[in-house]
Subunit: 254 residues, 2 copies
């Protein structure tokens, strides 16, 4: 932490505060607008808001931990000795990443059997991916870090395969006015998730120091915002359009 | 507390934060989704959410107490002298354990007389079990601890007997599409509750030190999550299925 300049330290703190504000406001928007989707989509919207609510809580914790790790005295940073708690990100992902995939499954409104089946497979793989990533994140050695990166990539690739190939048939059966949006939602997952394994490897590439910390923390924050808040608003739009197509009067009409 | 390493201390703190996040998000989910069950099941869902809400509050208190008990300076732990408050768990259980059993009774929708009768017997026994456990938890001597363990086991065994034998006939009268789930809910109570009396005895077996503290605190947290959040979602699923079977349009249909 002492390799950071005061400007860098403040910039990261502001990014965390921005993340908190975006997650909390997305949650409020989704829950306040919940009645504008047909009852059949309300569980999807409830869980979408839950994902951003859980993320908002963890950004608050991350922001407080960042604050407590450093004392600023006359423009100089001094570590307080209390470590910045990276684990909040993992605790957050362990809950939100499976739920993100459940959102996508729910808004597609598949048969009850297919919903359960896909939710358990995708959600389980997502939880496994996070659990396998954590030992490498906290390990001292580069070898251990790389080993757990490889292990964690196995469920990651399985999820990507399921999203691109496994869901193909079900996506084709979706109404025309949302098919493109659902494709877009899966690309959004894939694009934002691609960021995480790259960042994870940075320390192995010898990228350390102040700029690396800024890149990692701000990068994770942007990826989280895309994967949770932007993705959540796409899910909301899909639910609104499908509700309208099914004859439900939405809040955008009078 | 000084027998803990920094990693162990952080891990337990993260487990408490995870517990708080799980309990709070389960509460929000249950209350937001309350209208997706028939009016006859809404009290069950309200109380199910209340249990996780009370647990969320106590996990916040436990987390803050854990934080205040130790100062971390340059990677070393130093006790602040303020003891970690174990009593929050007992205060929590005193409220939530009777309510958990009431949830189960309410979702079965028995006759009014049977509901009252069973709720008072099971809820009363649960409260008695917690009250009898506490003097042993705070006692210095091993003899006192063991004595109150025995006393507390009497209502515990009575509750297990009631769940397995007493409720048998009422469970058999439940609709076919939920009978298995209700059995599953009672097993979940029995399996998760079995953890508590075992942990209670650990100090008598001479199991102490850092790893024992981690095992106890993380173990209690997992048992609480299973007994309250996972159990709560099973209760919710039972209520949704029974509502649907009774002709109520649920949130998973349009």
């Amino acid at each position: 932490m002492e390799t950071l300049s005061l400007d860098q330290y403040s910039f990261v703190g502001n990014a965390f505060s921005f993340g908190l504000a975006v997650m909390a406001s997305t949650t409020l928007f989704l829950w306040l607008m919940r009645s504008s989707v047909a009852p059949g989509y309300r569980m999807a919207i409830t869980i979408t808001g839950l994902v951003t609510a859980i993320a908002a809580y963890h950004y608050l914790q991350i922001m407080l931990s960042w604050d407590k790790a450093v004392d600023v005295t006359s423009g100089e940073l001094a570590a307080t000795g209390e470590p910045f708690n990276q684990a909040y990100r993992y605790v957050d992902w362990l809950l939100t990443v499976p739920l993100l995939l459940v959102e996508l499954i729910l808004v597609m409104k598949l048969s009850q059997d297919e919903t359960w089946n896909r939710a358990i497979k995708l959600g389980g793989a997502a939880a496994l991916m996070i659990v396998l990533g954590y030992p490498g994140e906290v390990a001292e050695g580069a070898g251990t870090r790389f080993l757990f990166w490889i292990l964690s990539m196995i469920p990651f690739i399985y999820i990507l395969y399921q999203l691109v190939v496994g869901l193909k048939e079900s996506i084709e059966k979706q109404p025309d006015n949302v098919k493109q949006l659902i494709h877009y939602a899966t690309y959004l997952v894939i694009a934002s998730w691609a960021f995480y394994p790259i960042v994870y490897l940075l320390p192995l590439l010898g990228i350390t120091g102040g700029s690396a910390i800024v890149a990692v923390e701000v990068g994770y924050t942007i990826a989280d915002i895309v994967a949770k808040a932007v993705f959540g608003l796409v899910i909301f739009t899909i639910a609104v359009r499908k509700s309208a197509a099914e004859g439900y009067k939405t809040a955008t009409e009078s």
